[in-house]
């Protein structure tokens, strides 16, 4: 320890002798790392798996079951009510839930000013499939229509000022509902079950309503809905259930490869039957897309973050080259002193240890500077690309890996010069 | 060739040199071989540097080949140095990274000679010092004496009127020192004025004239030096030194 402190003292002395080159090295290294940190944060978060133990078992089935003829068409990104009914008519999946989202206005009493809310209209398996935690109450017993809502914890607190509000009544878009459950704190980022139109980048909804009730009350999807025949999309209760109004997402849980194979077969049989019945004029194009591939399937992989990732990596490389260049210059300038130490009996190991002290000191200063620059970078990116702003937070795992990267880079930047200094010909340097 | 009247130099900054020059009075005629002697720190090197226009002086006059040096711009001084003066240093001061050829060629480049002319002159100079075969060597591959001969070749390649040598044999053993001295005498006989700083009384005696400097002042004896012993020279052929 005493020895290490001595090494640190020597490092500090050599910095004080030539503060500008050292400051520039630190500046360049922390610029590179800071910019890299900022982007790595988004990249890591956006590509995170919100359900790592389960995401390979969740699938979104797509098929071209639409009332128009289209050869070589991609199946629509959302399903119709009747599509979902047909895809649900099997026991193969361990769980299945159709869903969509809508906007609404929530009040305790009709006289209150309204609270704008995002609604998810779905079926009971949704909560099991995505492991949504409950604080109070329980999920609806079945998928049928009922005037019961499930609130997020935040919404319950905002509306009632407390969370234990099971059984209380509220008004959503002029209709009365009973609260059947309140969720515990729950976030899922990215929200892969809702990747249509980049919605996976936004927060979870405020309130949950049974899907059937949503259709009865004519809630139209707020993200994507398409009609493939003459239909009045304002009449979801009737036209919405029978005609080709597509707005539903549908997820099935298939735990084993056998289940997955069976469900694929089920889809094949289903579309073949429909074709025979004349209800599937297009070419058959069935897809069973896993949750991990859903963003790619919708072709929404955030090209800008990727492009920026590529560029920041190059920038880090430039800064590394540059910093090692600067630090090489510093070491060459110090070579006489190093040779003198060697002549006085310091072994290469001692010199290497001195270099390690340099590395630690540099890593320490650089991490602080890089985190500061990284933080400003994130703020700038949040301002310029607000769609990704939920993906900008640091957790310990990320922070520690960032620190490890800093240490690694400091080591790289110091390694070559120190090797060169300690292995340089001793007598030649002293003679010069 | 060199006329110095009342020349003084005062160091105002903290440099290694602590002595200044006081009222120096020195005339050197063309073709002379002058040895500049004196104890360490007496101002020999400073005088040589002033003569070589490497350092400025504070007062007095310095006429080099009839031209006053005072008030000349950096560019004019550099050109003057390049054309009229050749330097030989105790530490040789060859550029390590350059080959012998490149080293000798350097002042010719500043002179603006074309490539063919440079090549001719460099080869001629290398021949004069007997290192023609080693033109592509680097200084580190040569002995001290050879390096000094390269430095001499560099100094004479541009055919300067004056050669300023600062202890040219200071770093050499006696055999090599003698060879270098012989070379210098040869050059002097070819018509080049030489001013040489030396510690060695033997070498000083070999010069045509001795000037002593003590505490920044020329000693009295030197001021009344008799007529130059060696006014006229016939152009003699170059001498190869082994």
């Amino acid at each position: 320890m005493e020895q290490f402190l001595y090494y640190l003292k020597v490092s500090l002395k050599s910095i004080r002798r030539a503060p500008l080159p050292y400051a520039l090295t630190i500046l360049i290294l922390s610029l590179g790392l800071g910019v890299f940190f900022a982007n790595a944060t988004f990249y890591y978060r956006l590509n995170a798996d919100p359900l790592p133990h389960k995401s390979d078992k969740l699938f979104f089935p797509f098929m071209n079951l639409v009332p128009y003829e289209c050869q070589n068409c991609e199946p629509p990104n959302v399903l119709s009510y009747s599509n979902v009914q047909k895809l649900s008519a099997t026991d193969i999946p361990s769980a299945k839930a159709a869903m969509y989202s809508a906007d609404g206005y929530l009040r305790l009493t009709p006289q209150q000013p309204p609270l704008p809310v995002k609604i998810r209209l779905t079926q009971p398996d949704f909560f099991r499939m995505f492991e949504v935690p409950f604080l109070h109450g329980s999920v609806w017993p079945d998928a049928s229509a009922r005037a019961e809502v499930i609130l997020s914890r935040h919404t319950a607190e905002k509306l009632f000022g407390e969370t234990d509000v099971v059984g209380r009544r509220l008004t959503l878009d002029d209709f009365e509902y009973t609260v059947s459950a309140v969720l515990a704190d729950w976030t899922m980022l990215p929200r892969l079950f809702d990747a249509n139109n980049n919605n996976h980048l936004s927060e979870v909804e405020d309130i949950y309503l049974p899907l059937e009730t949503g259709y009865d009350r004519n809630y139209l999807s707020n993200s994507q809905s398409s009609s493939f025949q003459d239909a009045d999309y304002r009449k979801l209760a009737t036209d919405g259930r029978t005609k080709a109004i597509h707005q539903l997402q549908f997820w099935v849980q298939l735990d084993t490869p056998e289940q997955q194979q069976a469900y694929r077969q089920f889809m094949a049989n289903l579309t073949a039957d429909e074709k025979k019945a004349g209800r599937h004029p297009s070419t058959i194009n069935n897809r069973l897309v896993g949750m991990r591939d859903i963003v790619a399937h919708f072709n929404q992989q955030g090209g800008d973050i990727k492009a920026f990732a590529l560029v920041t990596l190059l920038f880090l490389l430039v800064c590394l080259f540059n910093a090692s260049h600067l630090s090489l210059n510093r070491y060459i300038a110090n070579q006489y002193e190093i040779s003198l130490r060697r002549a006085l009996g310091a072994s290469r190991w001692h010199i290497q240890q001195q270099a390690m002290a340099d590395v630690l000191l540099m890593a320490g200063i650089t991490s602080v500077a890089a985190l500061l620059i990284g933080y400003s970078g994130i703020s700038l990116m949040n301002y310029l690309l607000p769609a990704n702003r939920l993906f900008s937070s640091w957790d310990w795992a990320l922070l520690l890996s960032l620190l490890a990267v800093t240490l690694g880079c400091s080591y790289l930047v110091t390694l070559y010069p120190s090797l060169r200094a300690s292995f340089g010909a001793l007598n030649q340097q002293l003679k010069e | 060739m060199i006329k110095i009247n009342n020349l003084s130099k005062i160091f105002r900054t903290e440099l290694i040199e602590t002595h200044a020059l006081k009222n120096i009075q020195l005339h050197v005629s063309e073709g002379e071989f002058v040895a500049l002697t004196g104890p360490s720190g007496s101002g020999k090197s400073t005088l040589l540097n002033v003569l070589g226009t490497l350092e400025h002086f504070d007062s007095g006059d310095y006429l080099l080949d009839g031209q006053s040096v005072k008030g000349l711009s950096d560019k004019a001084l550099s050109a003057l140095r390049n054309e009229k003066i050749g330097f030989i240093f105790q530490g040789f001061n060859l550029i390590k990274d350059y080959s012998l050829f490149d080293n000798i060629e350097l002042p010719l480049r500043y002179r603006g000679f074309n490539a063919a002319e440079r090549k001719r002159r460099v080869e001629h100079a290398l021949e004069q010092v007997g290192l023609a075969a080693r033109r592509d060597y680097h200084p580190s591959q040569l002995s001290g004496g050879q390096q000094q001969r390269v430095a001499i070749a560099r100094a004479i390649a541009g055919q300067p009127r004056i050669l300023l040598a600062d202890e040219p044999t200071g770093n050499l053993d006696s055999l090599m020192a003698r060879q270098v001295m012989e070379l210098l005498e040869q050059i002097n006989q070819n018509g080049c004025t030489i001013l040489m700083v030396t510690h060695d009384p033997e070498q000083a005696r070999r010069a045509g004239r001795q000037v002593q400097i003590i505490d920044g002042q020329l000693s009295d004896a030197a001021m009344y030096d008799p007529l130059a012993h060696n006014n006229a020279h016939a152009q003699s052929s170059p001498v190869a030194v082994a």
């Binding site: 080159p21 360049i28 610029l31 910019v35 906007d103 206005y105 309204p114 878009d173 002029d174 209709f175 139209l220 707020n222 009045d232 999309y233 304002r234 992989q301 090209g303 800008d304 990727k306 492009a307 920026f308 590529l310 560029v311 920041t312 190059l314 920038f315 490389l317 430039v318 080259f321 540059n322 260049h325 600067l326 090489l328 210059n329 990116m381 310029l384 690309l385 607000p386 769609a387 | 290694i16 090197s45 070589g52 490497l54 350092e55 950096d74 560019k75 550099s78 050109a79 390049n82 330097f87 105790q90 530490g91 001061n93 550029i95 990274d97 490149d102 350097l106 480049r109 500043y110 560099r154």
Partner: protein, 397 residues
């Protein structure tokens, strides 16, 4: 006077340092060219013609907060009250309702085709339901036909006439007048000037209008108005209160000028281009630092060499030129590699975002800029280097 040959030799001798410098310069040039390209592209997108008076058209996006108000006839009454209130504001030249704003990524859209020739189908055409004053708000001239003056209701029986923008009319009915022709949405009543509808459409100038009631307000609706020049900010601050006075049961999502709509539409491109520009700036800074420190270090390391050269007759000027030339050579060599790197980066970026091919002049101007920065950064240490005293530098220790 300066030997390129000697400079190259000295660069080759410092292999590691020089190659570090080269790689970095090459990457800088690559990045600088591509981010300028992206910035240029965004700027072009932002300054493309929209057919709209960007500064003097305001769009209010809003929605009734009660179910009752969201449905006819209560909604029609609400609209009437709102339009009347806005129309009375001083500085408002024209006002209309609309189901959606121009200058959007996507929105309500659908197919348009010639009912007699369904093969020729145009997909994703924005479909506007507006009041007749919509054309006054956007200041669009009627090129052919007449704009219906009656706001049609959607009774499911009668067809509602459509109004097409010029380029769409030419696309659907090539080589003939569109007036009176039947589209899948109804007969064509008029053809109007082009304006920028939705970015995701087949062509941004394709638009279909119907003078009709707003079909549904699940996604909200809009009130669009043209203001007298210079009044935009004032009216924008007043309009929420005016609308709330007409009926307080509404949520106002935003009030924007068309210029803001345009910028929002290219927000991602703008963001990325800005980020890359910031990064390019940082890269230039890093290059300057490295040039500076390299020259500074060189000057220190080669004090003796410079002193010797000075003694041999090199003027300060030629020493300065020599150091600058050395840096220029490195920059030029780095740039040579950089032009290839710029092209490669361009290809790589094209895989993830839409970026045009790199024009030749761009890396060349990036090179010029890099040269300027490098020269600037080298100047000071090079000047210091020329101040080396030849007398001191040539002194033997």
């Amino acid at each position: 006077m300066i030997s390129l040959h000697l400079i190259l030799k000295s660069m080759l001798r410092r292999k590691v340092v020089t190659s570090l410098l080269l790689v970095q310069l090459a990457l800088t040039l690559a990045l600088l060219s591509n981010s300028s390209l992206l910035a240029l592209q965004t700027w072009n997108q932002l300054s493309q013609p929209t057919g709209l008076d960007l500064d003097n058209i305001l769009y209010v996006s809003l929605k009734p907060t009660s179910k009752n108000l969201q449905e006819y006839p209560a909604f029609a009454d609400l609209l009437e009250r709102q339009l009347a209130a806005v129309r009375q504001m001083p500085g408002v030249a024209a006002v209309s309702f609309t189901n959606q704003s121009p200058l959007m990524e996507g929105g309500s859209n659908g197919n348009v085709n010639d009912e007699n020739n369904r093969e020729n189908n145009t997909q994703s055409v924005p479909q506007y339901t507006v009041s007749p004053d919509f054309l006054k708000v956007l200041q669009l001239d009627v090129l052919e036909g007449e704009i219906p003056q009656k706001i049609e209701a959607w009774d499911g029986e009668s067809t509602v006439p459509v109004v097409l923008t010029k380029s769409l009319a030419e696309r659907v009915f090539p080589g003939k007048s569109a007036i009176g022709q039947l589209t899948n949405g109804g007969p064509v009543a008029a053809v109007i000037e082009d304006f920028y509808g939705q970015r995701n459409a087949e062509r941004v100038m394709y638009n279909r209008l119907q003078i009709a009631q707003i079909y549904g307000v699940a996604w909200g609706y809009g009130i669009i108005l043209r203001v007298e020049p210079g009044q935009a900010q004032h009216i924008r601050s007043q309009i929420p209160d005016v609308l709330k006075t007409a009926d307080s049961n509404i949520e106002i999502f935003s009030v924007r000028t068309m210029d803001e709509q345009l910028h929002r539409m290219f927000r991602n491109e703008f963001g990325l281009a800005t980020l890359l520009a910031v990064l390019s700036g940082l890269m230039l800074l890093v290059s300057m630092i490295s040039s500076y420190s390299n020259a500074h270090f060189n000057a220190l390391k080669r004090q003796q060499e410079i002193g010797i050269k000075r003694a041999l007759g090199a003027s300060k000027h030629s020493i300065l030129l020599e150091m600058l030339t050395e840096n220029w050579c490195t920059t030029a060599a780095g740039a040579g590699v950089g032009i290839v790197a710029a092209w490669l980066l361009n290809q790589a970026l094209a895989l993830v975002i839409s970026i045009p091919a790199l024009p030749v002049w761009l890396p060349l101007s990036a090179l010029l800029m890099l040269m300027c920065c490098v020269t600037l950064a080298t100047w000071y240490p090079a000047t210091i280097a020329t101040r080396v005293s030849p007398a001191t530098a040539t002194k033997t220790l």
